[in-house]
């Protein structure tokens, strides 16, 4: 059984939490004691229906009191076909950073549209964030169809409007589903109220969407997380580089280059859980051993000599500023890419991206919470990377404030 990670973007007003609640409820993923609790809570907040499904996902007290989603909540369910991890992200503009967070790991985005309102600024923003983060599948769920009398005409119009807008965004796969989360139409089972719709229900779509397309590249990439040196008598010379194959595959005997030093060697041994293997595929936690005694530490990259990533001290990237405190020009930061860290500085805020039109606006050099900007960064140490569109694992980074230690931005390398 495989695993699909998706995130949902939209407001409480769009019925996002209701939709997730419906998915969980109708797929029998909610326990009876939780349903009892919900029934009790629903009465407290004065919800219209017997069970307010939205209460399932709003976990924090403040959220329940205010009826909004503040933070990303993770939910889990499985069917006989697949296991799912949902990142339920808030939709309001002031929570763009949370959506960035939820979208970063996702294989699929569900973008909710209120059928009465059609494509809004918010729909555009959610779509643009999905595009920046290279989410492989975007599913536009046109919700509240019951409130527009299940009109095919109106649905088709929204679909057309969306496609016109999305044309310039380079999204990989776009799907559409007309639904009513509240009534349960096309969520788990196909609705009889929309005979004109020939596609799948939402759950059927989630169960069958192809995941293999999420792998962007065959080029092997590996970063050292930790050096295993038992230093016991029996294992005196044991020196293994522990990490994960983030893309491609590694083979015993393969010529490799260690970056940033540029020293070449070859793979002497690959261990997976202390067993020697000839090949290690993507996503496997391994311990690599090299033929030569090379000085290697955490954050170094070991790659096939014929497929080198870019290694340099500067890069351009699209970043989302996530800190409450605005960016101070010249401020020293730490850049972290997986296990690699280096001091860094943003040399130039080149442009600001209008997240409703995807246009690059002239920058005044400032960055505040939720701004998405194109920046030029210099690092103190050379960083080995691929462009994010080529490799989601080696083209992503976060920026950390040296003083507060907070994660202040997340970026994708051009």
């Amino acid at each position: 059984m495989d695993l699909l990670r998706f995130f949902t973007a939209g407001n409480v007003d769009d019925g996002k939490s209701t939709l997730i609640g419906r998915l969980l409820y109708d797929s029998n993923s909610i326990s009876t004691d939780i349903i009892e609790t919900l029934t009790r809570q629903s009465k407290t907040v004065g919800a219209n229906t017997e069970i307010d499904l939205a209460l399932l996902t709003d976990g924090l007290r403040a959220e329940r009191e205010q009826g909004i989603t503040i933070d990303v909540a993770y939910k889990y369910f499985s069917t006989s076909k697949r296991k799912f991890i949902i990142a339920d992200t808030p939709g309001h503009i002031q929570y763009t950073r949370n959506m960035f967070t939820g979208a970063s790991n996702a294989d699929l985005a569900i973008i909710l549209v209120d059928a009465r309102n059609g494509i809004t600024d918010q729909t555009k923003r959610h779509t643009i964030i999905s595009a920046i983060l290279g989410v492989p599948h975007v599913l536009v769920c046109i919700n509240k169809m019951d409130l527009i009398d299940y009109s095919e005409e109106k649905y088709k119009q929204i679909e057309r409007d969306y496609l016109v807008f999305a044309e310039k965004l380079n999204l990989q796969n776009i799907g559409f589903i007309p639904a009513s989360a509240l009534a349960g139409d096309n969520v788990v089972t196909k609705s009889e109220k929309m005979p004109w719709y020939n596609g799948l229900s939402l759950l059927e779509f989630l169960e069958t969407v192809q995941l293999s397309e999420t792998q962007q590249t065959d080029e092997a990439r590996f970063q050292v997380q930790y050096v295993i040196r038992p230093q016991t008598e029996a294992l005196h010379d044991y020196r293994g580089f522990a990490g994960k194959v983030v893309s491609g595959a590694y083979k015993k005997g393969q010529r490799v280059t260690v970056l940033p030093s540029g020293i070449e060697s070859s793979i002497d041994k690959i261990e997976v859980n202390q067993n020697e293997v000839d090949v290690a595929e993507t996503n496997t936690p391994v311990v690599l051993h090299l033929k030569d005694d090379v000085d290697i530490s955490r954050g170094n990259t070991i790659v096939p000599s014929e497929f080198l990533p870019t290694t340099q001290k500067e890069l351009t990237a699209t970043i989302c500023w996530m800190d409450n405190a605005s960016y101070i020009p010249g401020q020293k930061i730490i850049l972290q890419q997986n296990s690699f860290r280096s001091k860094a500085v943003i040399k130039d805020v080149m442009s600001k991206i209008d997240i409703h039109s995807f246009q690059a606006l002239e920058s005044d050099g400032t960055m505040k919470l939720n701004d998405i900007c194109k920046v030029f960064i210099k690092t103190a140490e050379p960083i080995s990377f691929d462009s994010y569109s080529h490799n989601r694992n080696t083209g992503a980074f976060i920026l950390i404030n040296e003083n507060t230690n907070n994660t202040v931005a997340a970026g994708t390398i051009d």
Partner: protein, 302 residues
């Protein structure tokens, strides 16, 4: 491109990755070990992450004194078997040193008290990271917690000030005195844990499997183990049933469930049919209020 899609392989890879990040980022980490199935899985994952090397952290157990004896025996045997360091600190000692009020009532809980001992042991060894087996599917406050969860000097969790956590990039940078709670199996569900136990053939304390036990049937219908910490009354309804434990917490606040599950396969079948959540079935401590867990976490609890 062949990519491994099996979800257990993916969850395992994620957990091992997180454990190695802890080793790479922190100077004095610890693995909080309770003798329960989740922390047993963590130890198993740590073996996969670090062998043939030693663990870059000790196992730490906060012993409430109300633990099931089976869990304690299991704990000691495991530490010996894998030859790793085990640090045990006792809530009873904390109660004495700090002149704290012990839990009261019919089923006296040391749930709140163990936070003191935990914070003390963190201070004693200057742990900068504590690895725990909490999962996001357990409870709705946990559903919002990061994998790297930064706590202030008082161990407090501030749900509104959490660091964004993106991709597989974990920011464990902290100031002196702060520490990070780390949850490598955040994305696992109860059923995932059992499927993993099955796949890896992991041995567990016997109380996870069915056995006959004398229990008090409470008014709310829970089966509570009879033991020296529970205040017995004449009106108690005492029954002997075939039961097992779904979670291994304190004897005073963990309820047994009626079960005929003799082995891991039986448990997996039972869980697939179960219509009640893990904490709902077994924990008295979460029934106190809707936000009981959220409040405990803010106070430094796991």
């Amino acid at each position: 491109m062949k990519t491994q899609h099996d979800y257990l392989v993916q969850l395992e890879a994620e957990a091992i990755y997180i454990l190695r990040e802890v080793a790479g980022q922190f100077e004095r980490p610890a693995l909080l070990f309770s003798g329960g199935k989740d922390s047993i899985c963590l130890v198993h994952l740590a073996l996969k992450a670090f062998r043939p090397g030693k663990f870059p952290f000790p196992l730490v157990h906060v012993d409430t004194g109300h633990n099931f004896p089976e869990a304690i025996i299991y704990r000691d045997n495991l530490a010996k078997q894998i030859d790793e360091r085990l640090i045990v600190r006792y809530v009873a000692d904390t109660i004495q040193q700090k002149k704290l009020q012990d839990g009261k009532g019919k089923f006296p809980s040391r749930n709140g008290l163990q936070t003191y001992t935990l914070l003390d042991v963190i201070e004693e060894f200057e742990f900068d990271a504590c690895i725990g087996g909490a999962r996001r599917d357990e409870e709705k406050a946990r559903a919002k917690e990061r994998i790297f969860s930064v706590r202030d000097e008082f161990g407090q969790w501030d749900p509104k000030m959490q660091r964004p956590e993106l991709w597989n990039i974990y920011n464990g940078k902290i100031h002196k005195g702060e520490n990070v709670r780390i949850f490598p199996i955040s994305n696992w569900t109860e059923l995932d844990v059992w499927n993993y136990i099955k796949r890896e053939n992991i041995q567990l304390p016997s109380i996870y499997f069915t056995h006959e036990r004398e229990c008090i049937l409470t008014e709310s219908g829970q089966l509570m183990n009879t033991n020296e910490f529970v205040k017995r009354e004449e009106t108690d309804v005492v029954v002997t049933k075939k039961v097992r434990y779904r979670t291994v917490g304190d004897m005073t606040c963990t309820a047994a469930i009626e079960s005929e599950a003799y082995n891991v396969d039986d448990i997996i079948t039972e869980l697939k049919e179960a219509r009640i959540s893990e904490r709902g079935a077994t924990r008295m401590d979460d029934r106190v209020s809707e936000a009981a867990m959220e409040d405990r976490k803010k106070g430094g609890y796991f």
